[in-house]
């Protein structure tokens, strides 16, 4: 594995030096030299107009024809399948049309059959269900065992799981056991029309840059996908597919962990993604107590209350309310951003909302670039008036 500059082709035009993120290109005597900073990302190869740079790699000439289908892992909690799993099934249902392969759902948990069979409503052709009390606690070693076993047996070409806190612990473990590639926290999936490879697109650098990643050498191609980025689509008349119960012998499912306590306190254990409307506040609110105004607006709208990182970091509202790169990713019908400037980190968590309303006093705020409706104005005037308007049901102007 090496990177090489062809001396006869290179003109020293410096394009590669500009594109390189890692200061890995030196230009000497009108010639590019790659130094030890290079991480072989290939950005220079894309930009080079003279095809003067090459990364040599061995062709992964492997036969994966025995791997077929897409398998989606559905996480459960308290006897229920999480929505993030259904979202993924819906997405996989679209992907499978480009591959003409079956769609498998793998449901694991301390759940009942009816719950597991809900997967059919979202397009699963097959449902594999491991239903047993050993899965009560979310221990990665117990879960990975059943996942690995099923994957080895079914041999799917693609394996998807939601990037929940547990998914982000479990799926990497499974990938490591299977020794296959895994792409974390994807926001977009597609099938390459020629190679039929899964193109996995994910944000990096806090959402400022997107990268598309493929896994050529190993199977299954694994990805975790951000919850609430994909849309959950229930099928009108689902066909009843094959239901396979995975037999569990509890003796085989030992664990190296011990649960010594749970604490659901999480103060306001809010789940922002449950709401169709979210009202969110940012630095423009000035101080914590002003969140009461937004709280009132969220109450009259039946909406969830979100916040930017700036507001959370300032201690105005607790972390579970945070939307953005380091907080929750939400995808509501309507997102009302009040006094949020729209830093890219925030946008990363909410820009897939169907309708975005932005209220900000700065007309140049980046939030307006993603908003559908914008109001340039003082949140302290607009929000109370809006609350009054909704409560009274009477027009403010005759």
């Amino acid at each position: 594995m090496d990177i090489k500059v062809f001396k006869d082709k290179c003109t020293g035009c410096k394009l590669c030096q500009k594109v390189c993120f890692y200061d890995a290109v030196d230009i000497k005597d009108k010639m590019a030299y790659i130094n030890e900073n290079c991480i072989l990302c290939g950005a220079c190869i894309e930009v080079c107009k003279f095809d003067a740079i090459e990364i040599k790699e061995q062709a992964p000439d492997m036969d994966f024809t025995d791997h077929r289908g897409i398998m989606v892992y559905l996480e459960t909690h308290d006897g229920r399948v999480l929505d993030s799993g259904f979202e993924l099934l819906s997405e996989a249902n679209k992907l499978k049309k480009d591959l003409d392969t079956p769609l498998y759902a793998l449901v694991v948990g301390n759940i009942c059959q009816d719950e597991a069979k809900k997967a059919f409503r979202y397009g699963a052709d097959w449902v594999y269900a491991a239903m047993h009390a050993v899965f009560e606690n979310h221990f990665d070693d117990i879960y990975s065992k059943v996942l690995v076993k099923t994957i080895k047996k079914v041999k799917p070409d693609i394996f998807l799981g939601a990037a929940t806190p547990f998914g982000r612990t479990l799926i990497p473990k499974v990938a490591a056991i299977l020794k296959t590639g895994l792409t974390a926290d994807c926001t977009g999936l597609a099938i390459d029309s020629q190679s039929k490879l899964l193109k996995q697109t994910r944000p990096t650098f806090g959402g400022n840059v997107l990268a598309t990643i493929v896994c050529k050498k190993t199977r299954p191609q694994m990805a975790t996908v951000r919850p609430h980025v994909m849309e959950k689509i229930e099928i009108d008349a689902p066909k009843q597919g094959q239901f396979k119960e995975i037999k569990i012998q509890p003796g085989h499912y030992g664990t190296q962990y011990k649960m010594t306590g749970t604490d659901k306190k999480q103060e306001e254990s809010i789940n922002l993604s449950d709401y169709e409307v979210i009202v969110a506040g940012g630095r423009g609110l000035g101080e914590g107590k002003n969140f009461s105004m937004l709280k009132e607006l969220s109450e009259v709208l039946g909406a969830g209350l979100g916040a930017s990182r700036a507001a959370v970091d300032s201690g105005w509202i607790s972390y579970p309310h945070q939307v953005g790169q380091t907080g929750k990713t939400v995808n509501p019908k309507i997102y009302i951003a009040c006094g949020i400037s729209g830093a890219i980190q925030h946008l990363a968590g909410m820009q897939t909302s169907d309708i975005i309303v932005a209220i900000n006093k700065d007309a140049a705020a980046p939030i307006f670039k993603v908003a559908n409706y914008g109001i340039v104005g003082d949140v302290f005037e607009v929000v109370p008036k809006l609350i009054e308007r909704i409560k009274s049901g009477k027009p403010l102007i005759e």
Partner: protein, 269 residues
């Protein structure tokens, strides 16, 4: 039983995520970007230092990173906040590693360091954002892994009890050592380096290990050892067309109310 070492794995990242691609030249704009310790790793370092300060069971804290030679700087930073030792994994052949190849390389290094009872990661990096290296590393080492740890309740030479942050609340779980964990920012408030720490760090020689030092084959590291590869890097497109609601505040609110009504969110005249 010997005392344990605590290894903290850190990464050097660009000091900002405010990086974008110039649409005209299709080049990455990275003016004046300085490299720093991945912010989440500061919590991992702080926790390592605090564990050593509190516990007699820990013989040594070691900061470990894989990166180009300049990544030595973040190890110096780690030493200046109180880590005892540091190791830099740097080799031309490590380049292009995905999370798996990174995990394999770190695992080999941790084995060479020896006696590691606890390996701490930040929950994710600022640039890559995957959070995947920790669990893959733990599997490679056949260690238990506790992710998203917000509090270490107990640590002795044999076991760790930690509170982890899950989607629906907190869980306190216990695992035998050696173990790996990833920590979230609720766990502590990282200190700033001390002057004495900085001066000590400046003087310390940091060992640099290449592939041969940790006994890996060329096929196991870097791009060769990776299962995934990046095929395209691009800037997200904004496709929205914003409609500004103009007028006096009352007029603006009235227009907004109209839109919300169309969307069936509110009722009324």
């Amino acid at each position: 039983m010997v005392k344990i070492k605590v290894v903290v794995c850190i990464k050097q990242v660009p000091g900002t995520t405010d990086i974008h691609i110039d649409p005209q030249t299709n080049t990455l704009v990275r003016e004046g970007v300085e490299n720093i310790i991945n912010p989440f790793d500061n919590y991992a370092l702080e926790e390592g230092v605090r564990l050593k300060e509190k516990s007699e069971e820990i013989s040594q804290t070691v900061a470990l990173t894989m990166g180009p030679p300049q990544a030595e700087q973040i190890l110096k930073d780690a030493l200046s906040v109180g880590m005892d030792e540091a190791v830099l994994l740097s080799d031309r052949e490590f380049a292009g590693a995905d999370t798996w190849a990174t995990a394999v390389t770190l695992a080999a290094a941790v084995k060479k360091i020896g006696d590691a009872g606890l390996v701490i990661f930040g929950k994710q990096t600022l640039d890559g954002d995957t959070g995947q290296v920790g669990p893959e590393f733990a599997q490679r080492m056949h260690m238990p892994f506790i992710g998203y740890v917000s509090k270490i309740c107990k640590l002795d030479r044999k076991s760790i009890q930690a509170e982890r942050l899950m989607e629906h609340g907190y869980e306190i779980i216990e695992a035998q050592l050696p173990a790996a964990i990833s920590v979230v920012k609720d766990i502590n408030e990282p200190r700033v380096p001390s002057l004495r720490g900085k001066m000590k760090a400046k003087k310390m020689e940091i060992p640099v290990w290449d592939r041969h030092h940790i006994g890996l084959d060329a096929e196991q590291v870097g791009l060769s050892g990776s299962f995934t590869q990046v095929v395209k890097v691009f800037t997200p497109q904004s496709k929205h067309e914003v409609m500004m609601l103009e007028g006096s505040t009352a007029e603006q609110v009235e227009k907004l109310f109209g839109k919300l009504k169309q969307l069936n969110v509110v009722q009324g005249a």
